[in-house]
């Protein structure tokens, strides 16, 4: 299975551990990837909030590049996934401006987008039955006793008609299945698709704090000792807006990436380097459960 890999800006900076753990897990389970050559930022919230043209054209450039490179695109970042998928959906919809967008791409890049590839998220790929089987065979350390609340946030689930690969986007289950599959204790809670306010984290921290606090408290109330996510913005936001950094009252809990937990369970290389990057140190929790961290 070979994919074109689109890391996105966050995975090259604030969420490097998501990049490293994704690549380590790909290697271990035999997913071959090749990074998208000369990829650009998807535009994120700032593009679609303020300029409709940029919102489509920035991700579209990546789709054109990916189509040239061949293979479907594999994306770990929920925001990049959402925007690439939205651009792909827009181009397939035949909306009024599609022709113009493709004409512009032809003029700028000498190629346009035909829709011969698909955009996939890592959780979608990992949770396919064959892949779950493979992960299960490779487990060297089941994460027994680790109580984790699966947190999906917005961008993997909404808008459902464009991005969701879940049967029920109001009650997504694929992260839950992965958490169960690696032997951890999957917590059931009602905040799994609530928004953490990631896009406003820098510009409106006081408002965002009210959202992150609710999510962390709800996970703890439900009995979780950690939260797991598949979005670098959710992870950074939840990890950084906890009491340790002036994020209100209460105790702190670690926020894992799903690839880190899978990596820990299948003994992928480099887990101590990923976990070192966290603001809330997850190692004491893992140690208390006798779970070892690979160097």
């Amino acid at each position: 299975m070979k994919f074109t890999y689109y890391p996105g800006c966050s995975l090259h900076s604030t969420a490097e551990e998501y990049n490293a753990s994704s690549e380590a897990v790909f290697r271990k389970i035999g997913i071959e990837t090749e990074e998208l050559s000369d990829w650009n930022c998807c535009g994120a919230t700032s593009a679609h909030s303020t300029n409709d043209y940029l919102a489509h054209a920035l991700p579209l450039r990546n789709l054109v590049l990916a189509e040239k490179q061949g293979n479907d695109v594999l994306v770990p970042c929920a925001a990049c996934y959402n925007l690439l998928k939205s651009a792909d959906h827009h181009m397939r919809s035949g909306a009024d401006d599609c022709e113009k967008l493709n004409k512009d791409m032809q003029e700028i890049m000498g190629a346009n987008y035909q829709g011969n590839i698909q955009v996939k998220h890592v959780v979608d790929i990992f949770s396919e039955p064959a892949m779950m089987g493979k992960i299960s065979e490779l487990i060297s350390q089941p994460l027994t006793g680790l109580k984790v609340a699966p947190y999906y946030g917005c961008l993997l689930t909404r808008p459902a008609d464009v991005v969701a690969y879940e049967d029920n986007p109001e009650q997504p289950m694929k992260l839950d299945k992965l958490v169960d599959g690696i032997g951890a204790d999957c917590i059931r809670w009602s905040y799994k698709t609530d928004c953490c306010g990631g896009s406003l984290s820098i510009s409106q921290p006081d408002l965002v704090l009210q959202l992150t606090r609710k999510i962390v408290e709800a996970a703890q109330y439900a009995g979780a000792d950690a939260i797991v996510t598949a979005c670098p913005l959710c992870q950074t936001n939840l990890d950084s807006r906890q009491p340790k950094f002036g994020g209100g009252e209460g105790s702190t809990i670690p926020i894992f990436f799903i690839t880190e937990l899978i990596g820990l369970a299948i003994g992928a290389e480099g887990s101590s380097n990923w976990l070192k990057k966290h603001l809330v140190d997850p190692v004491p929790l893992l140690r208390s459960l006798n779970l070892s961290v690979a160097s």
Binding site: N40, C41, S49, Y53, L200, S203, G246, K277
Partner: protein
């Protein structure tokens, strides 16, 4: 004495403009308020999402373009997914933000639009977001130097913020995309 209530006459021209721009069938809304019920940011809004839609129907352009609501919308799309009339309220908010920027509406608190500007200028310059540079630009423009200082230092220590930017090879293609975006607006 009978108080005569002020009669509001709906204006269809703003409604039409917004429907075209956002691609959303705003006129269908019958005020079920599911959008507001599910909105995580409603606590910080001056108009609730359902009120935004109603104001669009009534032609309340000035109120909306200067509202806090359009900028504190977290773009989580909960409103869109739950709307029984298939209206993407957050896309309506995006169209209003675009208009507010074009018409240079002066806001009491311009932190969110300045953040978006800083973010996009980083992309225009490098093709990717250079977080440290983008944050410095944002802080300079908004004079919010001390906010999140401790967090910023911690992120540098963890090397989560890079000192140098990553620049793509074909950054001229990105510039051309931005030029076309400016032409359009």
């Amino acid at each position: 004495m009978v108080v005569q209530e002020k009669c509001i006459e709906p204006s269809f021209s703003f409604l039409k403009q917004l429907e075209e721009r956002s691609g959303q069938p705003v006129s269908r809304c019958y005020q079920c308020k599911k959008c507001t019920g599910g909105c995580p940011m409603s606590f910080a809004m001056d108009f609730y999402p359902n009120q935004v839609i109603r104001q669009v129907q009534l032609g309340g352009k000035a109120k909306l373009l200067s509202s806090r609501t359009i900028w504190v919308c977290a773009c989580c799309k909960t409103c869109k997914d739950r709307c029984p009339n298939d209206i993407d309220t957050s896309a309506v908010m995006d169209a209003l933000k675009e208009m507010a920027k074009e018409e240079k509406v002066v806001l009491g608190d311009n932190l969110v639009p300045v953040f978006h500007d800083s973010f996009l200028s980083s992309i225009e310059r490098y093709g990717r977001v250079y977080e440290a540079g983008m944050l410095a630009g944002y802080k300079l423009k908004t004079k919010t130097y001390t906010q999140d200082m401790q967090l910023g230092i911690e992120m540098f220590k963890k090397r989560k913020l890079k000192i140098l930017p990553e620049k793509i090879n074909q950054v001229k293609e990105i510039k051309q995309i931005f030029d076309k975006a400016k032409e359009k607006s």
